[in-house]
């Protein structure tokens, strides 16, 4: 079974802190994604990556950056956390070709105070 793990289930940070969210997948998937989920807004794509060291902006990249130094790991970075970044963050991965299912991690609920 594909497994996507995220470093924390719950995280509380203060405004202005630098925050790292880690995601690891164990099925050698080429594609990895970061979403945020807010009530009534669905899943919104922040960044995605098709390969190591490659990244593409999603629909809401402002205030975020990403890093993919190894194929299995995709990190989301909040350079200076703000209260409007309080949200559920979901990581996903998929095989490199198109039209394939995404496997999601359990999510990290981030609260910025």
């Amino acid at each position: 079974d594909v497994k996507v793990t995220q470093s924390s289930r719950y995280l509380v940070k203060r405004t202005g802190e630098k925050v790292f969210l880690e995601c690891v997948q164990d099925m050698d998937h080429e594609n990895m994604f970061w979403y945020r989920q807010d009530p009534g807004l669905g899943l919104r794509l922040i960044y995605f990556s098709y390969d190591v060291k490659m990244k593409e902006k999603g629909d809401i990249p402002e205030g975020y950056s990403v890093s993919r130094e190894k194929k299995e790991r995709f990190s989301l970075i909040l350079e200076s956390a703000s209260t409007n970044q309080t949200s559920m963050y979901l990581c996903a991965s998929s095989i490199g070709t198109a039209y394939n299912e995404q496997f999601f991690g359990p999510g990290t609920r981030l609260t910025v105070l």
Binding site: F33, L45, D59, Q102, P106, G107
Partner: protein, 107 residues
């Protein structure tokens, strides 16, 4: 652009049928359907590809009408386990998900 799902929420009794719709303003090449139970990660249900192919998953099936740029998810004889939020996703170079449809099944 985010696909539009309807209805936003629906309450059913066990055994009843439901239809969830997903429409896009852009041409569709594929539509993904996922279900997320409360407190859990979204789980893949099916993908529908251009050509109107209809695929099923137990008593859950879906259709894809490219001309109308829409897809519908059909839940037949709903079970308590069907409760959750259903998301459609339209794929271009990436998947863009709708806002979701909350489904609650009553015993």
């Amino acid at each position: 652009q985010q696909p539009v799902q309807s209805p936003q929420a629906v309450i059913l009794r066990e055994g009843e049928d439901a239809v969830i719709n997903c429409s896009s303003s852009k041409a569709l090449y594929s539509v993904h359907w996922y279900r997320q139970k409360h407190g859990e990660a979204p789980v893949f249900l099916m993908i529908l590809l251009k050509g109107g192919e209809q695929k099923g998953h137990d008593k859950i099936s879906a259709s894809f009408n490219e001309k109308k740029q829409q897809s519908s998810l059909y839940l037949t004889a709903s079970q308590l386990s069907y409760s959750g939020t259903y998301f459609c996703g339209t794929e271009d170079d990436k998947i863009i998900f709708g806002k979701g449809t909350r489904l609650h099944i009553l015993p």
